[in-house]
């Protein structure tokens, strides 16, 4: 595995293993790719007799594919930003704190994920509805009546960007807190203390040291948050009703034309569109995932 002498053999094992894993992971997608361009797409793997771009076109012309994509990007992007920042601060605090309630709290937030979403969605909806009332009143008092609807689409808790973003953030926060806390646990405090000794005026220098230090942890948290929120189905389904605000997963339901029929070509085309940002996000984050911190104390 990690050794200079067995260099070639170790590398060969690595390549071999990775290739096998690659085949395992990608093989099922063969159907997705082929079906998305197949005019007669069915549930089973088949080489298309003709090629069509209709399914993809249908996403954007007959449906509001572009809009869904944008909505998903905005909400999940904002969610990731919030989670990284709030989780970053919180994870650091949790790592460095000695409070008695630290352990139960951490366990509680992770284990709460065991509750199936269907169990908490109804109380959650009621909470959101309650919050929506005052928000609506606030908006109406500030904004002219013509734009109330638009404003509520952004700031509303139910059927609005803000509500969905906050809910998604809360859902992803536990994992982020854990990852970042674990990461800071592994980081020796020497760096912070060295910076303080250097007279780190205010916490600005702490940030300049802590954030790069924590990059792998923050990136892992951010990436997982993005992927988790991107794939979330149930929250957008429950909280968003207006057509203009729908996210990408909702488009999937359009593939179920009737109770009995699924348009597989359309489903697969949409799936391909869906996978794109996750892959891009991974590419972006990967750089930071493996950054090691060199120098520092000794220098």
């Amino acid at each position: 595995m990690i050794g200079m002498r067995k260099f070639t053999r170790g590398e060969a094992t690595a390549y071999g293993y990775l290739t096998a894993t690659l085949v395992f992971c990608l093989l099922p997608f063969l159907w997705v790719v082929l079906a998305s361009i197949d005019p007669n797409a069915s549930q089973f793997l088949a080489f298309p007799e003709g090629i069509t771009a209709d399914h993809f076109i249908k996403i954007f012309s007959a449906n509001k594919g572009g809009r869904w994509f944008f909505n998903s990007l905005v909400t999940v992007g904002a969610t990731t930003a919030i989670v990284v920042v709030v989780g970053g601060m919180g994870g650091y605090a949790l790592s460095r704190s000695e409070a008695w309630w630290k352990r139960p709290f951490l366990y509680a937030i992770i284990l709460v994920r065991v509750l199936p979403p269907t169990a908490i969605i109804v109380p959650l909806y009621k909470v959101m509805l309650v919050a929506n009332g005052p928000m609506g009143a606030l908006v109406r008092s500030i904004v002219p009546p013509d734009s109330t609807r638009s404003a509520m689409q952004i700031f509303g808790f139910v059927d609005g960007y803000l509500g969905l973003i906050l809910v998604l953030s809360a859902m992803q926060l536990p994992l982020a807190l854990w990852i970042i806390k674990t990461y800071f646990d592994l980081t020796p405090r020497d760096y912070e203390e060295a910076a303080l000794m250097d007279g780190a005026n205010g916490f600005q220098r702490m940030r300049r040291i802590l954030v790069p230090l924590a990059m792998p942890g923050l990136s892992a948290a951010g990436l997982l948050c993005f992927i988790g929120a991107w794939g979330d189905f149930l929250m957008p389904l429950t909280f968003i009703s207006s057509a203009e605000l729908q996210l990408l997963p909702i488009g999937l339901f359009r593939a179920f034309q009737r109770a009995t029929r699924v348009d597989y070509g359309y489903l697969c085309a949409l799936a391909m569109l869906y996978m794109l940002p996750a892959v891009v996000a991974f590419g972006l984050a990967r750089r930071f995932l493996v950054q090691t911190f060199t120098g520092g104390i000794k220098g």
């Binding site: 170790g10 390549y15 093989l27 099922p28 919180g90 605090a93 065991v114 854990w178 991974f282 995932l289």
Partner: protein
Amino acid sequence: MTMTYETRMVWQNRLLLAPALVLLACFILIPAGAAIYISFTNEALSGFAASHPQFVGLKNYVRLFSDAGFWNSLIVTFAFVFGSSIVGQFVLGLASALALSRPIRFRRVFNAAILLPNAVPEVVAGFIWISMLAGGQYSTLSRIVGLFGFAPQNWLESVPLLMIIVVNTWRGIAFAMILMTSGLSAVPAEVYEAARMDGATPQQIFWRITLPLLRPTIFLYMLVSTAGTIAIFGLIYTLTRGGPGGATEIIGIYIYNQSFTAYQLGYGSAVAVIMLGVSVAIGAVYARVLKVQV
């Protein structure tokens, strides 16, 4: 400021933690608490109980414990979590993280490939594997083994539990890999160099140095992955609906099958609470075994 350094740090920590606490309290802890309360009522989404929910005490729990389907579901869930999360995803994820930590070409390709299964929503992943596994001779897997001379079969009927374990493993490797990569990178390179200079073999380095240093990350992974796997529903429901004959009726599907027709939130919540209790127990076991302090 007349506060001592320690007091200042405590207040700083509280301030840093505050936003997270607010979000979690509002959107997770309160609804979760409500769900726990609901488990003691007969609340429903429709029907008479919807407008007149009543407190019924432990009635839901009693019904739960006397239902053979629940116990079957518990066993299936344990097998499922063990096979896919503890063994499958972890081993493959760790191996991937290790393999990719070396200087390898085409790293981006491998990374993307491993990530893709996690990048689609559950429902789509379900359909993808239906295409692979269902339909007897039409399924992709049947065709593949046909090339090697094996008989095509209805995989989801003959080995359903094994199949869902495979599918969930496929889906979750990325998560394990990401976590392990992050954990591996926290190990400073100097440690490896020092070990090598001391003449340690790669196996010794792995088992005596890498793994122990990874323990907190492994613990985190196990905890989160177990919790997440227990709560899985859509993926398996699309594949097997919990059949045949309850062979793949994981707890999420059990809850659904029991309560969907009458939308009995109370009963469903009771099962969820039990699972919560079980997870707490499992978490404690993990902490013990991995000797991790939180």
